[in-house]
């Protein structure tokens, strides 16, 4: 019998500082490991603890993956003090991920907030690998301040991509900031999208997801065409430990990506 709780080993190859509180860890699994974009993993520090993260790299790269991690709690703060060549545990991948095949032929609007850009980077890279499959791909990304923007050096490269339109905004600018100021929802008006043949994908902090969803509904997206990346304290990853229940779903098993259609009648989904 396969032991579903046994992690495989991964070696941290490189640590990249993205912002004062966010780092990207490049992990090389020591056994075969693959994921689909939007799926998550349980990353553990052996003997210390385990936490859920969504890989932020291109799922087509099979020998290693990135996880972009905010220093927020016990495990993440130890990870932030971890150097290359450290051994970590990997379980997963878990969940359903983004159903890219159902997006074929459609325009795709991606709305990101803060560190929510991490899983979205994996999605973008997966989309970039098969752009002819889709209509326009539009991204709107908001961060609290210029310092909170992650993948700063990558964004200009992405903005060069054909058929891809990305605009960044910050809630509060500073003396160096020359771009948009305002919540990401202010960038969702008048987009050149055919709502009848488009999907939108939202990932960010709960409050941002809530208002982005409301705005998307307002501009004409149907609940079934709005994809949300939900997060709770997923632990086992397999629909057994009971921590990440939301209504009749477990986020780990039935999500973490849900359509708003699935969630709209559930209580307290933004908490």
């Amino acid at each position: 019998m396969e032991n579903i709780y046994q992690p495989i080993e991964g070696i941290i190859e490189e640590v990249i500082t993205e912002s004062p509180t966010i780092k990207t860890f490049v992990v090389r699994p020591q056994e075969k490991f693959e994921f689909r974009t939007g799926q998550f993993i349980e990353l553990s520090l052996p003997g210390i603890g385990e936490a859920p993260f969504t890989p932020s790299s291109d799922p087509n790269i099979k020998d290693k993956f990135d996880v972009t991690i905010m220093n927020a709690g016990k495990i993440t703060s130890i990870l932030h003090n971890t150097a290359s060549n450290t051994s970590v545990g990997i379980r997963g991948p878990y969940g359903m991920g983004y159903p890219l095949d159902t997006f074929k032929g459609k325009d795709i609007l991606i709305v990101g907030g803060g560190v929510g850009l991490a899983p979205l980077r994996s999605l973008l890279l997966a989309l970039f690998g098969r752009m002819p499959d889709f209509g326009k791909v539009i991204m709107r990304y908001g961060a609290r301040s210029p310092g909170d923007i992650i993948y700063k050096s990558l964004i200009p490269q992405w903005q060069q991509k054909k058929n891809f339109d990305m605009v960044v905004t910050v809630d509060r600018g500073d003396e160096t900031w020359k771009g948009n100021v305002g919540l990401v929802t202010t960038l969702l008006k008048g987009l050149p999208i055919n709502m009848d043949n488009a999907v939108s994908i939202v990932c960010g902090p709960p409050i941002m997801m809530k208002f982005a969803t409301l705005k998307l509904l307002e501009i004409g997206f149907k609940p079934r065409d709005i994809y949300l990346s939900m997060e709770k304290n997923m632990s086992c990853g397999l629909g057994k430990c009971g921590h990440c229940r939301i209504g009749k779903y477990y986020i780990c098993k039935d999500g973490p990506v849900f359509t708003y259609e699935q969630l709209k009648d559930l209580m307290d989904i933004w908490d």
Binding site: M1, N3, I4, G73, C241, G242, D268
Partner: protein, 365 residues
């Protein structure tokens, strides 16, 4: 279903034989806690615990009149166990030993449907649970009496089992009717065929009378409690989402988690990592949704930071999540949560109060 008869004087000899093949657990009398019925109904006061057959004197072994203190789930997922260790270490899944559990009641068997859904279903089967489940022999027995807290029949779960067991024992005269409920049970009665006689029609109809009499007494008791029918409970609990009842009932809760731990259907667990010498262990332990940190995430955000949200969550899990997924309420009416609660939070009373509130609200419209 094939039914046989086992004479009482042959029972221990049968257990002796069986215990050579199985690690046998059966009920003994235990110090427990009796609750008085608020309506003055006289109910049983004794308690039963499951003990290893080889470890108790024979005169202490009895046929338990109702369910034991221990929830059956502890035989499949113990309160705490190591589930993983160092990278690449051979995966050793315990549970090869054959175990036989006597004294199981129909409430326990019902709960196993919930536990099976969680641990055998989901994204993948839990190998620890699966192996133990395969190697266990479940020997249930009719309830001859009930505790004040028992309310199985209110949820249409009978105080006797018709399915889900390997063998079922119904005491009758100086012996037991033994139902054979599975292939595993079939093998046992075949192997020890000399202990069993065929059951007679007279015995079967005598048992039926006893069962009906017991069910009637239980239902008379339950009628006093006004527990809503199981068909309407999910709706009542959902409608009561914003009810003040959650806050009121939660006032006395001390967050001990006893209701979760003793619950036959509660299955939540916590995975934690620890170092034990040179070994990095991943440990699974029972968790409780009444605990403050049950849904806390990194950074401290907690969708269920208020106590009433956690009480409500327990009911939503049992009466919304499970009905929506497998069309079963995840409550077997065993009453263990009522008995263990130092705060006197009574699931029967909470459901009755929610029902009353729901019908009052319906009346207004």
């Amino acid at each position: 279903m094939n039914t046989l008869y086992l004479r009482e004087e042959r029972y221990f000899k049968f257990l002796d034989e069986l215990s050579r093949e199985y690690r046998v657990y059966l009920p003994v009398k235990a110090q427990g806690q009796a609750l008085d019925c608020a309506f003055g109904f006289k109910a049983a006061t004794a308690d039963y615990a499951l003990e290893r057959y080889s470890a108790v004197p024979k005169d202490e072994i009895i046929f338990n009149e109702y369910r034991t203190i221990d929830p059956l789930k502890s035989f499949f997922s113990p309160p705490k166990e190591k589930v993983a260790s160092n990278f690449g270490s051979p995966s050793d899944i315990p549970g090869d030993e054959k175990v036989a559990v006597f004294g199981v009641k129909n409430c326990d068997l019902f709960s196993l449907k919930i536990q099976d859904f969680v641990f055998l279903g989901g994204a993948a089967a839990d190998p620890f649970y699966e192996k133990r489940r395969q190697n266990i022999l479940l020997v249930s027995g009719d309830c001859l009496n009930f505790k004040e807290v028992c309310f199985c029949a209110a949820l249409d779960i009978m105080p006797y089992a018709l399915e889900g067991f390997d063998l079922n024992m119904s005491p009758l005269n100086a012996g037991f009717l033994v139902d054979v409920g599975s292939d595993k049970g079939k093998e046992v009665v075949k192997k020890y065929a000399s202990y069993f006689l065929p059951a007679t029609d007279a015995q079967l109809s005598a048992r039926q009378k006893k069962r009906e009499a017991m069910l009637k007494r239980l239902k008379d008791h339950l009628a006093l409690h006004n527990i809503p029918r199981k068909e309407v409970i999910p709706d009542i609990v959902r409608k009561g989402y914003d009810s003040a009842i959650w806050k009121e009932r939660m006032l006395t809760c001390v967050e001990c988690g006893g209701c979760n731990m003793l619950c036959d259907t509660c299955h939540c667990f916590l995975l934690s990592d620890k170092k034990s010498g040179n070994v990095n262990e991943k440990v699974r332990s029972w968790d409780a949704c009444l605990y403050a940190n049950f849904t806390r995430v990194a950074g401290g955000a907690n969708p269920m930071k208020s106590r009433y949200q956690r009480l409500r969550n327990r009911y939503l899990k049992k009466f919304d999540f499970f009905p929506a997924n497998i069309n079963l309420c995840a409550c077997c009416g065993c009453g263990r949560c009522i008995e263990v609660c130092p705060a006197k939070i009574d699931i029967r009373e909470v459901l009755a109060a929610l029902a009353k509130e729901a019908s009052a609200a319906d009346g207004k419209v």
